[in-house]
């Protein structure tokens, strides 16, 4: 987004124009404004959550185990007397960190591969396409399980596995977005004025392909969070005392049939809210970065 605004006359004017556009998009669609508020809330919880929570998320208390939600413990306490609210808030950072890193890796590698494939065609396109087809030939969550099992049961490997199963979406999208613009008027103009291929790709075609990719990023972020939580739900990656939504739901699952619903409900709701926010945000982002709507 900053690269788009920075090519204005002065950086300050660019920032001001961006903010005005942001305000316009927010007031235009209340749903986007709502999603944006939720997004700020989640990012805020990830950044400063650990300092705001009332209890230590790891502190056990044998005196108050499995307490239902109350004024002392908003989301109740778990089987070891830990405060569920504190754990849910603190977990935001880890869950978000996994999803953001995975999507960032997938975006950078996937869109580069896809852009090269779409721009040059031929063998580059065929080889990338074949590799992406092979990834897509697996049920994606199952492939992620296999990768984590083979590479080792760590949080980093959860990130890599999630990045790999997200790769094809970006590669395919970048390929089509670049391929339709390969011979557009502005590209030919740039080529005639003596720009190198990589320059045209990076500064002419790629920024124009960004809006649809932004939507994809936002949708994928939700999906990445779901996948990472799913992997930790089945016991991969995150090691138990660490607060993380998937593992908290998994631990709470053992207490559902005895009626202690709050253990699984609140981390599950937090997970749902995060995914929901990113899905809603997808369409809002499209309005924000679409160069054709910016006048």
């Amino acid at each position: 987004m900053t690269t788009l605004t920075a090519d204005g006359a002065s950086p300050l004017a660019g920032v001001r124009r961006f903010l005005r556009h942001l305000l316009y998009v927010m007031t235009d669609n209340p749903m986007t404004a709502f999603a944006f508020m939720l997004f700020l809330l989640i990012v805020g919880a990830a950044l400063v959550g650990p300092w705001l929570v009332p209890y230590d998320p790891l502190a056990t208390n044998a005196g108050s185990t499995l307490q239902p939600p109350s004024w002392q413990h908003w989301f109740g306490t778990d089987q070891l007397g830990r405060d569920v609210f504190s754990r849910v808030v603190v977990a935001t950072r880890l869950d978000l960190m996994i999803a953001v890193s995975a999507v960032a890796i997938a975006f950078v590698i996937g869109s580069t591969l896809g852009a090269i494939a779409g721009f040059y065609g031929g063998w580059a396109e065929r080889i990338t396409g074949r590799c992406m087809d092979t990834i897509m030939a697996f049920p994606l969550f199952v492939l992620a399980m296999g990768i984590v099992a083979a590479a080792g049961n760590t949080v980093e490997n959860i990130i890599y596995a999630t990045a790999i199963i997200n790769l094809p979406f970006y590669a395919r999208m970048a390929r089509t977005e670049v391929a339709v613009r390969r011979n557009a008027g502005f590209v030919q103009a740039a080529r005639l004025s003596g720009n190198a291929d990589w320059r045209i790709l990076a500064f002419q075609i790629f920024p124009n392909s960004l809006p649809p990719m932004m939507v994809q990023i936002s949708l994928n972020m939700g999906w990445a969070i779901l996948n990472a939580a799913g992997l930790s739900f089945i016991g991969l990656g995150v090691i138990p005392p660490t607060p993380e939504w998937g593992i908290m739901v998994a631990e709470g699952a053992n207490y559902i049939i005895s009626g202690h619903w709050w253990l699984a409900l609140f981390p599950g709701l937090a997970l749902m809210l995060a995914v929901f926010t990113f899905n809603l945000l997808g369409d809002g982002l499209r309005d924000l970065v679409d160069p054709q709507r910016r006048t």
Binding site: P139, F141, G230, I234, G235, L236, G246, V249, G259
Partner: protein, 342 residues
Amino acid sequence: MTHLARSRLVGWRLLQAIPVIVGIIIVSFLLTRALPGDPAAYFAGPAADAASIEQIRVSMGLDRPLPVQFVAYVQDLVRGDLGISISTGQPVMHELTTRLPASLELTGVALLFSIAIAMPLGILAATRPNSWVDHLCRAVVTAGVSLPTFFTGLALIYVFYYLLGWSPSPMGRLDFLHLSPPKVTGFYVIDALLARDLETARAALAQLLLPAITLGLFTLAPIARMTRAAMLQILEGEFIRTARAAGLPRRQVLFTYALRNAILPVITTLGMVFSFALGANVLVEKVFSWPGIGSYAVEALVVSDYAAVQGFVLTMALLFVTLNLIIDVIYTLVDPRLGLEE
């Protein structure tokens, strides 16, 4: 003539699956050789000394170059040998084949459930834009993509087992009061019906209902969204306007003309839906202690039983390719445009 063209198309599609299967086998070979640390040391066990590790390495062929190992791997696959599961001591192939029907039963019923709900919902939403059905459809679609499957499953267990008591305890395919029916298809409900054991069939169905609904809710969203979008687009078409102007009954316009064309993009999305369903299947099986291949893989993961996990990944991938092939063949058979072009 058209018949020949169609079978040629189907044959061409089958040929196209070959490079995909080769890719899958290469990836799963790489996964088995990318084990953390030394696979030979792992398979030799914690008590092994250097000599016995070396012996295992030679007997497993791990000292040979990778291409040779790959050939051996493919030969094993052709013989149906996926290795021995360390946790149970059984061949992985045997474990997977005995557990596969449970997974197929669950996924199949879930998909039938979600198609039965999602397609009418999508059609109704498309024919009545901005009505309550349309809003309901949008709500279902938005909620459906945000819901973690394992969370939906737990919520359903809490409501229907703990609060209402309508559902049997979420533990496997049959409670301990019933014996599993004699094996014919491996699907308990069908087997029990074949054995004319209505009581067992009812019990098996009761166990199946909640996990199938959980999985079905997850796949509902993409099918409903695609049906709605495809129907909306088709209903705009000029041939629909012509059919309406010619005075054809509404029902005929909707089902004979619109739906037959709208079903094509829906069938194409089914491929993606299967990918999600097979992945979510693992989570649902864990939540409901369903004895399918998904929960087998999860148990194997916990005890680092790699042969079992890799066998599971390979089985799932081959299952997925087969399902995609079936979808494509169905697509070829129902596409009304294909017959006309010849």
